[in-house]
């Protein structure tokens, strides 16, 4: 019979193993921190602005009006669109909902996946901001920016409805919009906006 003999690792090998594992964890954790920082860095804009006189967008006078500004190809906005779908589903008929897409030269916005996604949401109207004037009028600079107005055109919310770039799930922005649409009040009227820039920087 051949008895097995366990060979204990040498102290030097153990030290190298510990150093390798520590270095590996440091590199991976550092990369995760960079990734998280990128994803949690909000975009620009989002100041609260009452309904601008120059806007040609249709505003509801009998209920809230909710507008989301979107870049047609921004992958982060897919999460915002999903959050919008959920919000609309939970507050059916309480707001007129518009999704305003930035027009890009040479691109058919209506063929983009995000346009089709928005068009599929019941009660949502998708529009094209051909010259970017609507976004400028509402001080919207980041895709996924949501603004909510009461029937008098007063801004009651301005911000994003995701917790990070392209990150779905419960988040403060969605909760505040939901609270405003259902209770008429919210803890805060703003939240960070996560998404691509609507215009060239």
């Amino acid at each position: 019979m051949d008895d097995g003999v366990a060979i204990a690792p040498q102290p030097v090998a153990r030290s190298w193993g510990a150093i390798a594992v520590a270095a590996w964890l440091a590199i991976v954790c550092g990369a995760f921190v960079l990734l998280v920082r990128y994803k949690s860095t909000p975009g620009e804009g989002g100041a609260r602005v009452d309904w601008p006189m120059q806007s040609r967008l249709p505003r509801a006078s009998d209920r809230f009006t909710l507008i989301m500004f979107a870049h047609p190809f921004c992958p982060c906005t897919r999460a915002s669109m999903n959050q919008l779908d959920e919000l609309v589903g939970r507050t059916r008929g309480r707001a007129r909902v518009l999704v305003v897409f930035t027009k890009l030269d040479g691109e058919d916005v209506t063929e983009s996946a995000l346009w089709k996604r928005a068009a599929k949401i019941e009660g949502v109207t998708a529009l094209v901001d051909a010259d970017g004037s609507e976004a400028a009028a509402f001080d919207s600079k980041t895709s996924g920016h949501v603004v909510l107005f009461d029937r008098e055109g007063r801004n009651v919310f301005s911000g994003g409805i995701t917790s990070a770039r392209g990150h779905e799930g419960d988040n403060p922005g969605s909760q505040r919009v939901l609270s405003l649409l259902t209770n008429g009040s919210a803890e805060l009227a703003t939240s960070p906006i996560f998404g691509c820039a609507l215009q060239d920087e």
Partner: protein, 461 residues
Amino acid sequence: MTAATTETAVDPKVQRRAEALFDGYRDDLARRTDRFFAALLLGEWIFAIVLAVVYSPYAWAGKTRTLHVHVYAAVLLGGAINALPLLLAWRKPGAPLTRHVIAAGQMLWSALLIHLSGGRIETHFHVFGSLAFVAFYRDWKVIVSATVVVAGDHFIRGVLWPESVYGIVNPEWWRFLEHAFWVVFEDTFLVLACVAMVNEMHQRAEQQAEVEALSEREKQKSVDLDEALTKLKRSQETLVRTEKLAAVGQLAASVGHELRNPLFAIRNANTFITKKVGGDGADPKVAQFLQLIERELGACTKIISDLLDFARERAPNARPCPLRALVDEAVGLVPPANVKIVNAVSDELPVPCIDKDQFRQVLINLVQNAVEAMPEGGGEVTVAAEGGADRPFRISIVDNGPGMPADVVEKVFEPLFTTKTKGTGLGLAIVSNMIKGHGGAIRVESELGRGSRFEIELPNG
């Protein structure tokens, strides 16, 4: 009420073998699982890259697009996560460190895939699936390592970026524990399963060791039986041979007895004729032939005498007999040759009790054999003895002749075995029988080119 307990003593050898088998099983399992995870980690890396490229290929700023951070994360961070686990799976398969690092890597993949999939709740099931995969190692410590990574990820992100984990900005400090609880919930069953499976491996190893030990014992029995059968077969052959020899011996004795008297008469007649016609003035041819007849008759007498000595074993009539004088007497009866015979037996040697006639015959045979074995250039034969008092006698006959090969030494005391052209092959067999009759033993050592040494051991008294 008393309880009787039966304790089975475990053979330490079987126990050691069971431990070795268990270590072997565990090592095989760890290496196999390392390979499985190496393939899984590579698959996850490829999947992550495809997911990033398809799901979020570019980040946009108006009309300008750049490669999305998710693509970089999938390629670089995914590669970094896989680097050490794959290196260890390749270089140190089966090592404890390898499986702990692989488990940590697998759980880090959960975190990365959750990021790349946009935090989809479905992707969180990757955490629970990975824990189940990690349990393939059947090592509960590895599950603990994996859980520490999950808890650590939740804790750190909960501090730096709480919305990504809990969906709210200011969660309670213990919220990471709540998430970890569900992981621990699964861990509980996985750890119990691991412990149970390790116990089963122990039992399997013990059973295997017992079966091997049993098989080895049976094999040894079979070997012993084969040896016994071989010995029995040899004994049977020896018996048959002995019976044949006994029959031949009887016949030879009978023939020898019948021939001895006629031969004696012929010898007497030849002596008479030699005296009458072989004297001076006789035809030289006649004298030569008469000498030839006398010589050959002597040889015949010797053969018949040997046959009778061998066939009719006589119990020794032991009496005190000084050995040195007996050696001198025997040496005197050995036909002269160009060989120096030295009687080195001391006068002060205690007197042994032996059958003088038989022992004289023994000495003659041994010394004559030694003399005849010498080359023509001559040599030396020495007869020595020691012992007596409280010790057995040892009588040695040593020559510096050519020696004997090993196959001859083996058979030298067998009846009818001879290397001489005119030998009967009975001389040393008779010697052996006579020594045995005295309760003694004889052995021989020989080396080619160095000579031979016969040693007789006789009990004292």
